[in-house]
Structure formats: structure tokens, C-alpha cells
């Protein structure tokens, strides 16, 4: 069994875990992160992409609101290029209660959330598809965030600071010693899901940042962390309906947020309490509810073309242990107007504030910290709290630096919707397009595939938006499989040097990747022995890339999972064209497929329960 040694081991490769790795590495800790699938595979990759101003929670969850606005300001500096500065409207529709808007505006002032009331007519001029019957509009600094890019940028910053990140390494065991009340965690055993090899990790401290999976990780330490898992269903429209984030100005409810994220608008969300973080069915009523509520914001939204539906799980947490034993973070516990005794019945009512569980105090387990709750917007703050607690346990004092450190790529400024088209036009890359809908070029794909431990096409989708447009992989799945297969058969040596994620989403990245980026890479002390491990999968003969037929089948199934609940009208017609391509022309249902499943095959199969199942 391979062995590794580190000071801090982070479990979970979502926004929070990656943030923790970044923070810890910046404070000089030897840091290792393990993630059972690809980075952002969990909730981070399945949320609507809203950078909260906090306004949504000013009346319901002041703690969360305060965290959001403060982090909103920070992330605009540290992750500038991962954010589109859309601004946000809170609109009052005829169905919304009368006194909420005034209470809302007052609460915004109280919590220092910048809020300006603007005439409804000028809001309608800016967003002509908005419900013309809206009576009042407040503008706030909401924005759209690319959580895939942001996490990759954070990950690169972490690597540059010396951290090692191991995707496709699944936690199987936490090393626990000592007796009741005085137990210590000294490391973990993880499984490389691609090679099937086990890895023994010795660590001074383990930080559980597994989000919705935190309860499962804690259970491996014999500790009970009862998560409140709130499933949220979201739908993406074929094209943007608005260019501004739109919120209903009312108590947060279902289907009252519309976020313009890249080429689509996302309407969200439901909030259904679920038992586990995986296997999330999307029910017909949830789709209908989103569309009906969406019509209140943009009349006719329900008749617009819907590309896809998906569900994410909010990892909500509310401490239910006797307060004496709890040690929620300072930020988390100053919600003094909200007594923390009872588990909320409805996940909508659970706090969105972050929760830090220091298991030494809480459960008598040393070397183990859980950071959970929170919002994507507050991931950096969550990381800061967790590493603060880690410093305390490890008996060192090192200040947090993330709030003042920009991740690579911020010099590009905020992204804007047209950036890909603009680059494709400037560099005449039209014939290089692999995914025509989302303007993904061949070199973007190759770059992502060669420098990221790609195991499935779905990982590439998250990296570069492959297959996320109207045809949902109809044309690009085949092309991507062919290109990955060529990369392998060409037996090219893996590209040396760090994957410059700053331009990960840039069609013209090879014209823009400056040599300075490479230089700063080499200047960093990332000569970690495990760097090769991080890059090996792309050329590893065991990797799924070596099985193009599985890549093809699994990505088709992954896309199907998200379209099946919304197949009607034009998207059904689109799907029939995709069938024509993969059945009639490619005969992909008669491909020789080896019996082996790719690491994600079983996942795709089990995670699927379409509304339209007639099984």
C-alpha cells in the first residue's frame, strides 16, 4: 500500500474543501485533499450559480445574510474572473405580501447590504421580459458565479501554495486510536477509484469538508453529525431570459430565483428534505412548480424551451446537542434571535449560516474538525473558520491570508457572456469547435483532458461546459470521445507544467496563456512528489479514457438523466435527433463494450430515476 504523510488532510473537493486546502496551504501547512469523484462533482457543481448579496436572508437568517455580503465583497476581489457582475433585482409581484418589501429594505440597511429601490419602469426597460405587473424593485449586488471555474482556480491556487489534491480518491477509513472520550484521528485510508489501489495517509489533523456527505464521513470517526439535507431542483432555459439575477421580494420559497449563468437562465429551487445525498429523483411536480413560479417572474417562462433539470443537496446543519457541548463558530452562533434547540422540520427553515464542529470539544475526538452548512458564497469564510480551528488544535498561530490573496486569473476582470464568442471570432476558431452550442474548442478540451485527471466526459463538461447547450451532447459527445481516444493513441507525453485554469474556459487560451503563468508555476514550491499522481489518470491505461465506448455510453446516459424529466416539445425533438445520431448513424447501442464499468458507470445508473420511468 502506498503511504503519504501530511499535516492537514481535507475530505471533499467541493468549494469548501478546495477552499480549506487553499487556506491551509497558504498558512504553510502541508496539505492533502481527497475527493471521491472529480472536483465540484457534488453540490458545488449542482447549484444555480448565485453569488448572494445576502439580501435573500436578511429577514429570515441574519447570520447568513451578514456572512454573504461580507464574502460577496471579498470574492469579487479574490475570484473576480469567476464572477459575472450581473447585479440583482428583488421584485415585488402582485402575489407578494405588502409589508415584506419595507421590512426587507430596513433589514438590508441594518445589515449593511447595499439596497437601492429603483422605479419598476426602469427595471422593466432593463429586463423587458420581467412580469410587467411588478410594483416595486430593489437592486442589490447579487451576481452570477461560475462555481466550476472558481473551484478549479482555488484548487490551482492551493497547488501553487504547495497543496496536493487527489480527485477520484474515496475515503474508506479514518484511523482512530485511543478510548472513549479521548480518541485521536491520525489519518485515513483512501481508495484510488481509477486504479483500485489503496493509499494510507498519515495526517496530524483531518478536516471534514464533505458537504452533504459530512455525516457519512463523521460516522467513520464514530461521531454523529446529523445533516439536514435539502434537495433543490433547478431548470436551465435554452437562452437567457434576463441578464440580471431576479429574486422575488418575499420570504424565500420555491422557484423564486432566476440566475443568468453563462448562456442560460437557471430557475430554482425547490427545497425538499431528503435522506441521503445521492440518488435524487426529480419529480414531475417539482418541474411543474418551478415553471409555474417562474411565470411569476418572467411570464411565459413555462413555455420557453427547457434544456435540463438537475438537483443538488444543500448541506444544512443546525446544532441540536446541548449548547454546553457545542462549539459553533462565532459567526455561526451570533444568531441569538434564533434559538438552536430543535431540528427544523422543513429544510427551508434551517439556517444557511456555516457550522464549525470542533470534535475535540464536541465529541472528545482529537484531530478532527467538520465544517459544514453555509452557502457557496461563504465557502472562503468556512475554510477560514476551519483552518482557524485547526491552528488552535495544532497549537500554532498563523493568520488567514485568503481574503487578501487573489487566485490565478483575476487580472482578466469579471467574465461576461460574450467572452467565448468574442474570442472565437477574434481568433477565427469556428472550425475548431467541438461543442458548438457552448463554443468549446478542441484545444480547450485537449488542455483540460491532458492536465486534469479526467476520468469521464462529465468531468470535462464541468471543466469547459462540454455538452451543456441545447443539443445536450448530441454532436460533441462523439467528437469528444474521438479526440480523447486520439490523445491516448497518439501516446503523447503528458503536458508538463500546471494546468493554467485561469484560461480554462477560454477558447483562445493557447493564444492567451502567458509564459508568466508558467513561470509563476515553476516558482512555486509545488514540486510535490504526488504531482505526477495528480496528472497520471489522463494517460493511465487503466483510466476510462482507454475505454472510449464506455466514455460514450456513460456520458450519453449522464445527459439523458438530466433531460428525461423535461422532455417535451422542442427538447424532445432535439433528443430524437440525438437518437438518430447515436442509434441510426453510430449504432452506439451495438458497440463492443467490455464488461468493465468505468468508475462512474454505476453512479450514473443508480443516480437516475426519471419522471418518465415506466419500469
Amino acid at each position: 500500500m502506498k503511504r503519504m504523510q501530511t499535516e492537514i488532510l481535507v475530505i471533499g473537493g467541493g468549494a469548501t474543501g478546495t477552499g480549506v486546502a487553499w487556506d491551509a496551504a497558504l498558512r504553510g501547512f502541508r496539505t492533502l485533499l481527497v475527493e471521491k469523484r472529480d472536483l465540484t462533482h457534488g453540490t458545488t457543481g449542482r447549484y444555480h450559480g448565485l453569488l448572494h448579496s445576502g439580501a435573500r436572508y436578511v429577514l429570515k437568517d441574519a447570520a447568513s445574510a451578514a456572512q454573504c455580503i461580507s464574502e460577496n465583497r471579498i470574492l469579487r476581489r479574490t475570484h473576480t474572473h469567476c464572477i459575472e457582475d450581473t447585479s440583482g433585482f428583488f421584485v415585488v409581484t402582485p402575489e407578494d405580501e405588502d409589508d415584506y418589501p419595507d421590512r426587507f429594505a430596513a433589514a438590508c440597511r441594518r445589515l449593511d447590504v447595499p439596497c437601492t429601490e429603483i422605479p419598476a419602469s426602469s427595471a422593466l426597460r432593463r429586463e423587458p421580459l420581467l412580469n410587467p405587473r411588478i410594483s416595486r424593485v430593489f437592486e442589490l449586488p447579487d451576481a452570477a458565479a461560475d462555481s466550476f471555474l472558481a473551484t478549479h482556480a482555488t484548487a490551482q491556487a492551493a497547488r501553487q501554495a504547495g497543496a496536493t489534491l487527489l480527485p477520484y480518491h474515496e475515503l474508506t477509513r479514518l484511523h482512530l486510536s485511543g478510548g472513549d472520550g479521548n480518541r485521536t484521528i491520525s489519518g485515513a485510508t483512501v481508495l484510488d477509484t481509477v486504479s483500485g489501489e489503496e493509499l494510507h495517509i498519515d495526517a496530524d489533523l483531518v478536516i471534514n469538508a464533505a458537504g452533504a456527505w459530512s455525516g457519512q464521513v463523521a460516522a467513520l470517526a464514530g461521531v454523529e453529525v446529523k445533516m439536514i439535507l435539502g434537495k433543490g431542483v433547478m431548470l436551465a432555459t435554452n437562452a437567457r431570459l434576463t441578464n440580471t439575477v431576479i429574486n422575488r421580494c418575499k420570504m424565500p420559497g420555491d422557484g423564486d430565483i432566476l440566475v443568468p449563468i453563462h448562456t442560460v437562465s437557471v430557475i430554482g429551487t425547490t427545497d425538499e428534505k431528503v435522506a441521503g445525498p445521492e440518488d435524487l429523483p426529480i419529480e414531475q411536480w417539482e418541474i411543474d412548480l418551478m415553471l409555474t413560479e417562474g411565470d411569476e417572474l418572467v411570464p411565459g417562462l413555462s413555455r420557453s424551451r427547457i434544456l435540463r433539470a438537475w438537483a443538488g443537496v444543500r448541506p444544512l446543519y443546525q446544532e441540536t446537542q446541548p449548547p454546553a457541548e457545542s462549539n459553533q463558530s462565532k459567526e455561526g452562533s451570533h444568531s441569538n434571535d434564533q434559538p438552536v434547540q430543535e431540528m427544523p422540520q422543513d429544510s427551508r427553515d434551517a439556517t444557511r449560516a456555516l457550522a464549525l464542529l470542533n470534535h475535540r470539544q464536541r465529541d472528545g475526538v482529537r484531530g478532527f474538525i467538520t465544517i459544514t452548512g453555509g452557502k457557496w458564497t461563504t465557502f472562503r469564510l468556512m475554510a477560514e473558520s476551519a483552518v482557524d480551528a485547526a491552528c488552535e488544535q495544532l497549537g500554532v498561530s498563523r493568520p488567514c491570508r485568503t481574503a487578501a490573496t487573489a487566485v490565478p486569473g483575476v487580472d482578466q476582470g469579471h467574465y461576461w457572456l460574450g467572452h467565448r464568442l468574442s474570442e472565437v471570432e477574434d481568433e477565427q476558431l469556428q472550425s475548431e469547435l467541438v461543442c458548438e452550442c457552448e463554443l468549446v474548442t478542441r484545444s480547450m478540451l485537449e488542455s483540460a483532458a491532458q492536465r486534469n485527471p479526467t476520468v469521464t466526459l462529465d468531468d470535462l463538461r464541468r471543466d469547459v461546459r462540454l455538452g451543456m447547450g441545447p443539443c445536450q451532447g448530441g454532436f460533441c459527445t462523439y467528437r469528444a470521445v474521438g479526440i480523447l481516444h486520439q490523445l491516448r493513441t497518439a501516446k503523447t507525453s503528458p503536458v508538463v507544467g500546471e494546468w493554467n485554469v485561469a484560461h480554462m474556459q477560454s477558447p483562445a487560451h493557447h493564444h492567451r496563456d502567458s509564459s508568466t503563468a508558467e513561470a509563476s508555476d515553476s516558482a512555486s514550491n509545488s514540486a510535490s512528489a504526488y504531482d505526477s499522481l495528480q496528472r497520471s489518470a489522463a494517460v493511465d491505461p487503466q483510466a476510462a479514457v482507454s475505454q472510449p465506448n464506455l466514455l460514450l455510453r456513460d456520458f450519453l446516459q449522464e445527459r439523458w438523466k438530466g433531460v428525461a424529466p423535461i422532455l417535451w416539445g422542442q427538447q424532445l425533438r432535439q433528443e430524437r435527433l440525438d437518437e438518430l445520431i447515436y442509434l441510426s448513424i453510430l449504432n452506439a447501442d451495438h458497440l463492443p463494450v467490455d464488461d468493465k464499468e468505468s468508475p462512474l458507470s454505476s453512479f450514473y445508473r443508480s443516480d437516475f430515476s426519471p419522471s418518465g420511468s415506466n419500469q
Binding site: Q284, L291, S302, Q428, Q430, S431, E432, L433, V434, R442, F475, Y478, R479, V481, G482, I483, H485, Q486, T489, P548, N549, L552, R553, L556, Q557, R559, W560, A564, L567, W568, G569, L572, R573, R576, L577, E579, L580, I581, Y582, L583, S584, I585, L586, N587, A588, D589, H590, L591, P592, R605, F608, S609, P610, S611, G612, S613, N614, Q615
Partner: protein, 462 residues
């Protein structure tokens, strides 16, 4: 007045129009957009899978009786299907784009279109004893899987997987829709001798456009044809069959294939005759690509040229928006224009608008499934929860894609009571119920056979 107005310009509509016009009827074709022939591989897939999804069909004459009784093929019977196929083959021979069956030897260089036609005719006369009747070819898909095909354009025939000559799949570097290594690897997995090679596309064109269609147009030019021939000779060996993406010319297609065949065979004085030399045929073949399909465009163009010769106009851009019927007769159909609706009066109407993909059928969010021109009664799953199966590639297919028009033996749409809705309305092709043509690999077979049957039916009824 028109004898027949065909609605839809896919293979169904065009072949029905051709058949009816050849019988002397006055025919016109109108369609909302260019037909679906552009999307398909240009092959005539007659029946590749049975609806249970498990069995692969090797000979459709044996498989047709296993289809459900309401399936269009069961309404037609084997002889009618075979007759329609013969007629289609004759048409393609006349049009200079010959289609061939399994076991048929083609020599592109030998016969003029007229000769082809007579030879095909004699073929069909002897069909009773023809051992190849109904036998599917197994051709090569662009991912290297076998494609069950009944009639192949001559340029795809040499892809037959029954042929045991070694294969070399030749790609064009930088062409986004063709991956020779992947095809060769999957062919190897299936037990075939196959390898791949690549040609630098940059030597053929300076254009950025690398779509199959652009390359096909480029390869209509003599200079590029000669260059390609030389490049192919350089990377292939004697005795190999050469598979290329389907870009071998649009207008000069047959000449180019002939030229490439000669170039690759001329360099090798064949060693002692091998056992399969009889069926060897050409040494060059095309592998279809993603839409738009160049072989599909060739077929479409060939059909349209024949129709023009018969005085049949094909008018595209006509979207149906209403119709008028008195009793059980449709009097006219209306289509949208920039202003007032345009009226199309005819004695008979053929609905050949396709299924969900073609736009002949629309399924909405509430689970309603509608026929889009005459709002005919449909056979379709009751509610949206019954439309789909959990796995995309489920070989039984998704029930919604069997939604369609139920017809009588003469292909007239039926109402709920089982009586024809109109006396002068007919339906053919993918708009028909009780079949999922894409899943069955029966799209072109159904298009040709039912289109032919309707045309004959209209002629008889005149």
C-alpha cells in the same frame, strides 16, 4: 388541379411523388423545410432490430412476420416491400447514384446508368430464387460499430463486414467529425483486421471550414481529386479496403470513387486470385458522418433531379396552418406566407411529415401528442410518465417515439372507430404508428415501401 399534393420532402414524400408522377399523375411536393434525408446516412435501412431490442436482424424477410400486426411492414407484406425496393433501386440506377444489395457485384466503371437499370430489372425478375433477397449488409458506423443496411449506395458497399479483406480507415487530420483510430480499434475488437491512417487536410484546402459538406464540394474539383488519390495511395497497401469519411464529392461523386478505386488497385498487380475476389468490388468505401450527411444530400439531390424531369415542383418553406374539408374529403390545405394563407387544392393528399423529429408530431408538456397538419387521431402513450425508459440506450426504445397515425391497409389514417378519417388523405413514413424507425433501423425502408404503396394506391383510386 393536382392529383396529389405531398406534404413533406423527406424520402417518403419524394419517392411517393416520383412513383405517382411516373404513373402520369400531376403531383406537387410542399414542405416546411428541407427533408430529413439530410440527417441520415444515405443508406436504406430496412430492418435491423426487432422491437424487443434483443435480436439483430440478418434477413428482414424472415423477421417481418415477427413484427406486431399493426406494424407498417405487416400491412404491406414482404412482396410489396421487395417490389418497392426494386423500384427504388431502379430509380437510383437511372439517377446515376446506384444502390446495391448484399452479394451484388458492382463495378462503378463498367456500366452506364442505362445498363445498370436493365441489369437491376432482370435481378428483380429472378427474385424468387435470389438467395440474397432480404439479406442485410453490415456496414461500418463512424464509431466502428456494425450498421445493418439493406441497400447501400455503391460507394458504401465495400464497407461490408462480411468481406474479409483487411481494412484501413483513413481520416483527414483536423476534421472534427471523423476519428479513424477509434473506428479501427472497435473493428479490431469485433474481430476484423483493421488499422487507421491519417491524411493532412491542410494539403487539400486552405479554408478553415472542415465540415463534411465543404470537403465534398472541394472534392468535386479535379486538382483536389488527384491530390487525394495520391495521398491515399501513399498511406495504404495493396489488397486493403480503404474507408474514408463520406466526403467523396457531391456532383462528381461516382467519378471520384472510380478514380480512387483505380488509383489504389492499379499499383498492385493482384497476386493469385483470392477466394473473395468475386465479391471484392471496389476497394474504396465511405463511412457516413454526423448530420448533415453528404450521402443523404446526394440521395436528396438525385430524387429532386428526377422529380424536376417529371415536372414535379418541390416547394420548401411551406408551413401548414389550416385545411378545409367537406364531409370526408379534404378540399384544400393552407400554408403560411408573409401575408394571407396560401391555398393548395388537390384531389389527394399524402401526409409525409415525419414523426417527432420531422415535425409531423408534436408532444407537449401536458402530455398531449398532436399530429401537426390535420390534427389526426394518434396512437400514443397515455401520459408523459409512460413516454421514456430510464436508460437512453435501452434497446426496446422509448414508447413516445412509437406515437403516430394508425392507418388501414391502404394507408389511410383511421379514427378511433377504425374508419378512415378522410377518403382522400393518406399517410406514410415516420408519421405512422406502431414503429420506432430509428430504434428498428427501418426508417428508409418504411419511407420507401409505404410511400410507394400510397402512390400506387392513389393511382389505382383515380
Amino acid at each position: 388541379m393536382l392529383d396529389l399534393l405531398v406534404i413533406g420532402a423527406g424520402l417518403t414524400g419524394l419517392f411517393a411523388a416520383y412513383t405517382a408522377a411516373r404513373a402520369g399523375l400531376r403531383v406537387r411536393v410542399i414542405a416546411h423545410g428541407a427533408g430529413a434525408t439530410h440527417w441520415h446516412a444515405g443508406t436504406i435501412d430496412l430492418l435491423g432490430n426487432l422491437p424487443d431490442g434483443e435480436k439483430t436482424v440478418t434477413n428482414w424477410t424472415q423477421a417481418v412476420p415477427e413484427l406486431p400486426p399493426a406494424h407498417p411492414y405487416r400491412l404491406l407484406g414482404i412482396d410489396a416491400i421487395a417490389k418497392a425496393m426494386d423500384e427504388f433501386q431502379s430509380l437510383t440506377a437511372v439517377a446515376g447514384l446506384p444502390y446495391v444489395r448484399a452479394g451484388a457485384a458492382t463495378d462503378l466503371t463498367a456500366s452506364s446508368p442505362q445498363d445498370e437499370r436493365t441489369s437491376q430489372r432482370s435481378d428483380s425478375d429472378e427474385q424468387v430464387s435470389d438467395p440474397n433477397l432480404g439479406r442485410n449488409l453490415q456496414l461500418i458506423s463512424p464509431v466502428g460499430a456494425p450498421r445493418p443496411v439493406y441497400l447501400a449506395p455503391a460507394a458504401q458497399q465495400a464497407a461490408s463486414l462480411e468481406d474479409d479483406r483487411p481494412l484501413v480507415i483513413v481520416g483527414l487530420q483536423g476534421m472534427p467529425d471523423f476519428y479513424p483510430e477509434l473506428i479501427a480499434e472497435n473493428l479490431q475488437k469485433l474481430g476484423h483486421r483493421a488499422r487507421s491512417a491519417s491524411l493532412p487536410l491542410s494539403r487539400l484546402t486552405k479554408r478553415l471550414d472542415r465540415s463534411p459538406l465543404h470537403l465534398a464540394r472541394l472534392l468535386d474539383q479535379p486538382a483536389e481529386q488527384a491530390l487525394l488519390a495520391q495521398m491515399i495511395v501513399d498511406v495504404t497497401a495493396a489488397g486493403e479496403r480503404v474507408g474514408l469519411p463520406a466526403v467523396l464529392g457531391l456532383n462528381a461523386h461516382t467519378a471520384l470513387v472510380t478514380q480512387l478505386h483505380e488509383a489504389t488497385t492499379a499499383r498492385s498487380r493482384p497476386s493469385p486470385q483470392s477466394s473473395h475476389s468475386q465479391q471484392a468490388g471496389t476497394s474504396i468505401f465511405e463511412i457516413p458522418t454526423l448530420p448533415p450527411s453528404v450521402p443523404g444530400l446526394r440521395l436528396d439531390a438525385a430524387l429532386r433531379t428526377q422529380l424536376t424531369g417529371l415536372g414535379v415542383r418541390v416547394e420548401i418553406g411551406m408551413k401548414a396552418c389550416g385545411f378545409h374539408a367537406t364531409g370526408r374529403r379534404i378540399q384544400w390545405l393552407e400554408t403560411e406566407t408573409g401575408s394571407r394563407p396560401l391555398r393548395h387544392t388537390a384531389r389527394n393528399f399524402l401526409l409525409a411529415t415525419g414523426g417527432i423529429l420531422g415535425g409531423g408530431i408534436y408532444a407537449d408538456r401536458c402530455g398531449r401528442v398532436r399530429e401537426t397538419v390535420f390534427d389526426l387521431p394518434l396512437t400514443a402513450p397515455q401520459s408523459r410518465t409512460q413516454w421514456l425508459r430510464p436508460l437512453f440506450l435501452d434497446r426496446r426504445g422509448h414508447p413516445i417515439f412509437q406515437a403516430g397515425v394508425s392507418v388501414d391497409q391502404r394507408f389511410r389514417p383511421l379514427d378511433q372507430a377504425g374508419a378512415p378519417v378522410y377518403d382522400n388523405l393518406w399517410a406514410a413514413g415516420s408519421t405512422l404508428a406502431h414503429t420506432d424507425p430509428i430504434r428498428e433501423r427501418s426508417r428508409e425502408g418504411i419511407a420507401i415501401a409505404t410511400g410507394y404503396a400510397v402512390a400506387k394506391g392513389v393511382v389505382t383510386s383515380q
